[in-house]
């Protein structure tokens, strides 16, 4: 398995976004790269926090403001320095920090502060309705994990799409993307795709396989950016898969 070996070898030198932030917590000063890494993580994973707050009965605007304030607080107070080195996963750390933050905010009537140098996305009415509808059956923590998983997948697909655009294959991505996760080859309508995409079935099959492999690599990179060790990637993915399934597990990091 040469590529698995290559992946392991690279891990010796890999500094992921989360490990950079953890390292920054150890030193007296925070590097620009670490802040940038933390900022990127927050940009990707603000939605799970927002959903959690909505499940905690915060109004739409309040949840948005509180999410922004939380990130500002995290950076200003170097809250990431308190992350658990041994079993620290970014997902678990962020939720625990948010819980502390809102408890403090309630106790001290913490003034909400906008921004924190970060611009977070905003949900339109339709996305808001979808979130409310979907999260209706879950507790706040479950909704958080679900949205976390969705954010991971969205980020990986966004990256894949960008790469397709750069490779001049944006149209191909449109055709193939719905079948990225379809395991059964027989369920993929290659013949139907062939005419509009102006490609042979054989080429389509080959392109789908390549796209799927690249997607998988990107998804693992994204998960890797939120855990401490490479060996934790599969564990994290499995945990999130279980979290999405009906039998929601109660064990966690």
């Amino acid at each position: 398995m040469p590529c698995r070996e290559a992946e392991s070898r690279n891990e010796l030198f890999v500094s992921t976004r989360w490990t950079m932030v953890l390292k920054a917590g150890d030193s007296a000063t925070t590097s620009v790269q670490a802040l940038s890494a933390l900022s990127e993580l927050c940009q990707i994973y603000w939605r799970p926090l927002y959903v959690f707050l909505r499940k905690k009965e915060y109004r739409h605007e309040d949840a948005q403001d509180l999410t922004q304030s939380f990130f500002a607080h995290l950076i200003e107070t170097r809250g990431y320095a308190r992350a658990d080195r041994k079993k620290g996963r970014f997902r678990a750390f962020l939720l625990a920090a948010l819980k502390n933050f809102i408890a403090d905010a309630r106790d001290r009537e913490h003034a909400l502060k906008r921004g924190g140098g970060m611009i977070l996305g905003r949900l339109d009415d339709m996305a808001e309705a979808q979130i409310t509808q979907r999260a209706a059956k879950w507790q706040a923590d479950e909704a958080y994990d679900h949205e976390w998983a969705a954010s991971l997948v969205r980020q990986a697909l966004d990256r894949l799409e960008q790469e397709c655009v750069l490779a001049g294959k944006s149209e191909l991505f449109d055709y193939i993307m719905p079948y990225l996760a379809v395991p059964e080859e027989s369920a993929i309508p290659y013949a139907e795709m062939a005419r509009p995409s102006h490609r042979d079935i054989t080429i389509l099959r080959h392109e789908l396989a390549r796209l799927r492999r690249r997607y998988r690599a990107i998804l693992r990179e994204e998960v890797r950016g939120t855990v401490r060790e490479a060996a934790e990637v599969d564990e994290e993915l499995r945990y999130l898969c279980h979290a999405l399934a009906a039998g929601y597990p109660r064990k966690n990091t």
């Binding site: 698995r4 921004g115 611009i119 998983a149 790469e163 001049g168 379809v182 998988r216 999405l244």
Partner: protein, 558 residues
């Protein structure tokens, strides 16, 4: 009214609800996650990005990746995505935009036309327009791309979203820069067609200091301009992307621009000129001041309908405490009829008047709070009218020469203090004297200038005296542009607009000659006298001393 609940679709494989993923497409999160778990399939060799994208080069440019391998994306818009990239031959960082030409882009003719148009637009050089280095086509895929200077800042849209609406002075300063850029482009027959907050980069003024300034000048310049420098990006790109095959046609194919910031003529697919950009600038300034656009809507049709209703929500501006003059100006910029909007020159004039009002208000407040007894309330702002001189061909080199002839226009006292009028003459004479010392610059005489003093359509400059005893001036001359950005009490700095260098700094140690005059209400004639003031005192100290001792430079009224 609550939005309708979305329709629920489920995954045919696992039965989970499908959710919105990349680009709004539906997908099963559970299945997409499961795909990433190892054991089902090993990661093959061709799963690395280079194998996937080819060599990742667009001409001499290679797109940068972040530490964790994702592409270094700077922004995304309707026309394409911008990445940070490296020019491999010159080893410099650039912003690389990959253009989305869609299905039409498959046509060679469309691509070539795009390149032709885009290259012509890139010829527009101005300090407030991002410099374009290269347009090109990636042969392997037929994608169009262009490289422009990498501006380390944020867009106006990002600034407003991050820090809230801007204050009036900052907004006016940004507007002045954009107007100067639009005027320069118009002279070469180019318009932007998609001016909006996302296409305006803001750079902290300290970062954008031109080369060639010593520390002192740098410090003074920063103090004077503690507001960002604006740079327009994607100039001419919208037009190039929609350019008609027949160049004689006045209309363009399809809708041009971004609906919320588009002019009425863009909606109607009519001929466009610089007044369309003026309209978009009006909406952009409105957004900067309020954080909102004047015409809201969920679709192009809704926005167009709101625009046609011609009812501007002026209350938004009043709530944001926008001064009356600027409100009126924005209203004129947003006129439905292009003919009713100000042109770039008129707009520059109006903006200077707005700046005078805004800074005057601010100065008064400061003075009142600080020392009401000693310091006069007058905040002397002067507007000087400049003249068009003969046209100077645009400079193509990096160090263009100064124009052969220049003028020092009349200053006008805009303060409410008639006694401050002597400063108008004083600054005028001072600038005149100092510019005359430049060997390569011929100054048109004061007498020749006088005949233009009542002309409304000439460009104006602004000289403002503030509590730091500094004055600034800006002047636009015909086809070439000369800025007198800072006329400090003991120095004058001139520069050309097309490049930060060279700077000509004039005798910093010379204290200016002040003038005083006595006006005769009967004849309206003005007599001037000269008086040299103490070299070791600043103007402000002298003024304070003068007023405090009730002898304000011995100005007497008949």
């Amino acid at each position: 009214m609550q939005p309708a609940a979305p329709e629920i679709s489920t995954c045919s494989d696992c039965g989970q609800t499908l959710e919105e993923t990349s680009g709004g497409r539906l997908g099963c999160i559970a299945c997409l996650l499961r795909t990433g778990i190892s054991g089902e399939e090993d990661l093959p060799r061709d799963s690395n990005p280079d194998a996937f994208e080819g060599d990742g080069h667009f001409g001499v440019y290679r797109i940068d990746r972040r530490d964790h391998e994702s592409l270094y994306k700077l922004g995304h818009g309707g026309m394409g995505t911008t990445y940070r990239a490296t020019d491999m031959s010159l080893q410099r960082k650039v912003a690389l935009k990959i253009i989305t030409l869609g299905i039409a882009g498959r046509s060679r003719e469309v691509r070539e036309r795009f390149l032709r148009e885009a290259r012509a637009a890139a010829a527009v050089r101005h300090e407030n327009i991002a410099t374009v280095f290269q347009f090109g086509i990636r042969e392997e895929t037929g994608q169009c791309f262009y490289a422009m200077e990498l501006i380390e800042g944020e867009t106006l849209e990002e600034r407003v979203r991050r820090a809230g609406p801007l204050d009036t002075c900052t907004t006016i300063f940004i507007a002045q820069q954009v107007t100067a850029a639009l005027a320069a482009a118009e002279r070469r027959g180019w318009i932007h067609c998609d001016l909006k907050p996302a296409n305006l980069m803001l750079v902290d003024s300290e970062e954008s200091q031109p080369v060639g300034l010593d520390r002192r000048a740098r410090r003074e310049r920063t103090a004077q301009r503690a507001v960002p420098v604006a740079k327009i990006i994607d100039f001419g790109l919208a037009k190039a992307l929609h350019a008609p095959i027949d160049p004689m046609r006045l209309t363009y194919d399809g809708f041009l621009g971004t609906p919320a910031f588009a002019s009425p003529e863009q909606f109607e697919n009519s001929a466009l000129d610089v007044r369309s950009d003026i309209y978009s600038l009006g909406v952009t300034l409105w957004f900067a001041l309020t954080g909102k656009t004047p015409f809201a809507g969920r679709s192009v049709e809704e926005i167009h309908r709101a625009q046609q209703s011609n009812v501007l929500p002026i209350g938004q501006l009043k709530s944001a405490q926008v001064p009356s003059r600027l409100r009126l100006l924005l209203k004129s910029m947003l006129a439905l009829d292009p003919a009713a909007r100000p042109g770039p020159h008129k707009l520059a004039v109006e903006l200077r008047r707005c700046a005078a009002q805004a800074t005057g208000t601010r100065g008064t407040r400061v003075v009142l709070a600080a020392a009401a007894t000693l310091i006069p309330v007058a905040c002397a702002s002067f507007v000087f009218h400049s003249l068009r001189t003969h046209s100077v061909p645009p400079s193509s080199g990096l160090n263009p020469a100064l124009p052969e002839k220049s003028t020092v226009p009349q200053f006008e006292n805009l303060s409410r203090e008639p006694d401050s009028a002597f400063l108008a003459h004083g600054v005028h004479g001072d600038v005149l004297t100092k510019l005359a010392d430049i060997a390569d610059l011929e100054i048109i005489s004061r007498t020749s200038v006088m005949q233009y003093s009542d002309k409304e359509d000439v460009p104006e400059g602004l000289a403002e005296r503030d509590p730091r005893a500094a004055a600034s001036a800006e002047n636009v001359f015909g086809d070439d542009t000369v800025h007198l950005n800072q006329i400090f009490i003991d120095s004058v700095v001139t520069r050309t607009a097309t490049t930060p260098a060279p700077f000509v700094e004039i005798d910093q140690n010379v204290i200016p000659t002040m003038k005083r005059y006595r006006a005769s209400p009967q004849t309206g004639q003005v007599r001037s006298q000269y008086k040299r003031i103490n070299r070791k005192r600043t103007l402000w100290n002298k003024l304070r001393y003068g007023w405090a001792s009730k002898h304000p430079y011995h100005v007497k009224k008949k």
